[in-house]
């Protein structure tokens, strides 16, 4: 049950064998959407790339990793309480923190936190319920807390290497999410796959999250500091 086996399973025919494809499909969907919107509308917005490009780019990378973990969890559906709580907390926290941070950097702490809460609480509760109400509550709380922390961190670092912080935060979050995938892998060796999402699931969520993020960053409400 080593990391080596996990890495090997990424090339196999089980659930883990589909994970690399999920990242690819998610990124392709998001970047195609950004490309289409850019040529139709966004390129006419003054300083779109310098103002929003960096944060949008990392938001899209974050969504691909979050959706990867969600798809992995949904494949097995039910987990023991301990694992389910860790799943709810990790998904809630990371999917609240990252959107909160990136939207907070362009729209301010309040709107970053609100956006992060919407994503974090939704995903945290949805995935945490794989072990029942405890995991769902854990996911809800983690989404709530992560979103506030994400929005707050971006504003606190506004004058202090915000972009570098964004890269570091994304990298740390990636390692945490991949750690969650490894945990799911180790916990499910004796379990049967219970659910199979096709690629429409990944395309739908990537499209929705990217579209809403773009709309929020560019046209959404923002605090006085960013007007």
């Amino acid at each position: 049950m080593s990391v080596k086996n996990f890495v090997k399973s990424l090339s196999g025919n089980e659930v883990e064998g589909e994970l690399v494809k999920t990242i690819f499909v998610s990124l392709a969907t998001s970047f195609i959407l950004i490309g289409i919107l850019y040529f139709l509308r966004l390129r006419y917005i003054e300083n779109f790339i310098p103002k929003y490009g960096f944060y949008l780019f990392f938001a899209v990378l974050s969504y691909s990793l979050i959706l990867l973990s969600i798809k992995h969890i949904r494949a097995y559906k039910e987990f023991p309480c301990m694992s389910g709580m860790m799943i709810g907390m990790t998904i809630g926290m990371i999917s609240g923190f990252l959107p909160g941070f990136f939207v907070g950097a362009t729209n301010g702490m309040f709107w970053g936190s609100v956006f992060g809460m919407a994503v974090g609480i939704t995903f945290g509760t949805w995935n945490g319920k794989c072990c029942g109400i405890m995991g769902a509550m854990e996911g809800m709380m983690a989404g709530f807390m992560g979103a506030l922390m994400g929005g707050m961190t971006s504003i606190m670092m506004l004058n202090d290497n915000l972009k570098l912080a964004g890269v570091i935060i994304f990298m740390v979050s990636s390692v945490i999410l991949l750690g969650l995938n490894y945990m799911i892998y180790t916990e499910t060796r004796e379990m049967e796959r219970k659910h199979k999402d096709d690629e429409f699931f990944t395309i739908f969520w990537s499209f929705l999250l990217t579209a809403v993020t773009i709309f929020f960053m560019v046209f959404g409400p923002r605090s006085l500091l960013f007007q």
Binding site: K21, I49, P50, I155, L158, N159
Partner: protein, 131 residues
């Protein structure tokens, strides 16, 4: 195996190409927040200049007195750092990021009273008295 190698390289190509266009284009333009310049500064010297610094982890001076109807320029000196450089006076609708000591906020206080100024997170704060 070959299928996943394809997807893996696909991910690398997607990230590299998108990163090149998005991050590369962003790097060509100055990253400075442009919302810090004053608007309508007269240059005649007919304004009240206030320079705030940091003492005991808060703005110093902590209480600032200005005259009503006369433009005020607020500077934050080099000792002010972090989120305290995002300066707000809610009652006058002011919220600006001042990245350097040369940036300033200019406004004309149009009402008398005592108002609170603070950083964007409320961690540093003080009092503005308009007489």
């Amino acid at each position: 195996m070959a299928k996943n190698v394809f997807y893996f390289f696909g991910i690398l190509v997607l990230v590299a190409v998108a990163g090149f266009f998005i991050l590369g284009a962003g790097a060509e333009t100055s990253q400075k927040n442009s919302g810090t310049q004053n608007s309508g500064a007269s240059g005649s010297g007919d304004f009240q200049k206030v320079t705030l610094s940091i003492k005991n982890y808060n703005y110093y001076p902590n209480t600032v007195t200005v005259k009503e109807g006369q433009p005020v320029r607020i500077y934050l000196d080099a000792t002010v750092s972090g989120c305290l450089r995002s300066f707000t006076i809610k009652d006058f609708g002011i919220a600006k990021n001042l990245p350097t000591p040369n940036d300033y906020i200019e406004f004309t206080p149009d009402k008398k009273g005592t108002f609170r100024f603070a950083c964007s997170m409320g961690m540093g704060y003080g009092t503005l008295i308009v007489e």
